[in-house]
Amino acid sequence: MIAGRGLKQLTPHKDLILASQRELSDFLVATERRAFKQAMYAVQNEETALDIVQDSMMRLAEKYGDRPAEEFPMLFQRILQNAIRDYYRRSKIRSLWTTLLSSFASDEDDEHDPLETLEVESGSYTPNTPDGQLQQAQSLKIIEQEIKQLPTRQREAFLMRYWEDMDVAETAAAMGCSEGSVKTHCSRATHTLAAALRAKGITL
């Protein structure tokens, strides 16, 4: 009894740190796969998506690791979307330089090799599944394809609201826009997706 109390007294602040680490750990475990998929929809490259998610996790832990757990979804989404936007900006600059320099050097390593993305997508699904599962996998592929083709803001709003379970206010805070435009983005995304899926004969 006494020994047990002594042990407990020795590690009070370690307990607190462990508690907040557990909260962050639980949050990341629950979110990391969706975050990776979100990044994939946006940048369409496995390596880049992994990098983006890794950086975002790091930034959340380093800068906001002491925040209450209920703020994590909003903060993490904000960091993630900023990281994706940063990547777009960098790749825009890089592609500008590539076109400028293409007359001098032709053997630049191209990150947008279409074969690479193709391989990723076919590799995500096991090929020898029963017919029903195959059909489901195909419809998932089409849904993901359509999500990739949504305008960036619409995709962000739709995924945060309906996949990340964030409410309108949280989504607006993460996106840095008004609650009204979150609702507009969401309903537009829903209409576009529904129309596209109907056109492809996908019934949910």
Binding site: Q9, L16, S20, L24, V29, R33, K37, E62, S124, W163
Partner: protein
């Protein structure tokens, strides 16, 4: 199909997709998570309080009875000081009340709007 229902269906599909991530991707995500957790910022307040508490507890050999006695003493001091402060405040209020009642001016004058306006006017002049 309304928006929420449609979104729910899409969400189910997406969840399945996220669940079926390749092994190497989930492993790398887990590694990234561990790496991030190792660098987690921990609240400064928590650390200070926790360290102070830990220090206090480590460097004092008070028994539980002594700790209780100290707590009781602090409680008594707090109750007494509250009582004394309240008592002083009550006597101040009593002084004001008796001054008001003993004054030549009737109490009703203070609630009269016309009287207040007249006071303001005369003080401006």
């Amino acid at each position: 199909m309304n928006e929420l229902h449609f979104a729910y269906k899409i969400r189910q599909q997406l969840n399945r997709g996220a669940h079926e991530l390749p092994q190497d991707i989930s492993q790398r995500l887990a590694a990234a998570r561990e790496h991030a957790l190792a660098c987690q910022k921990v609240s400064v307040h928590q650390q200070i309080f926790a360290t102070a508490g830990g220090f206090g507890r480590l460097h004092s050999n008070f028994s539980a009875a002594k700790q209780t006695a100290i707590a009781v003493v602090f409680l008594l001091i707090a109750v007494l000081s509250t009582f004394l402060i309240a008592d002083r405040r009550v006597s101040e209020l009593g002084d004001i009340d008796s001054a008001l009642l003993a004054d030549e001016l009737p109490v009703s004058a203070f609630t009269d709007k016309g009287f207040a306006a007249w006071l303001e006017q005369s003080s401006q002049e």
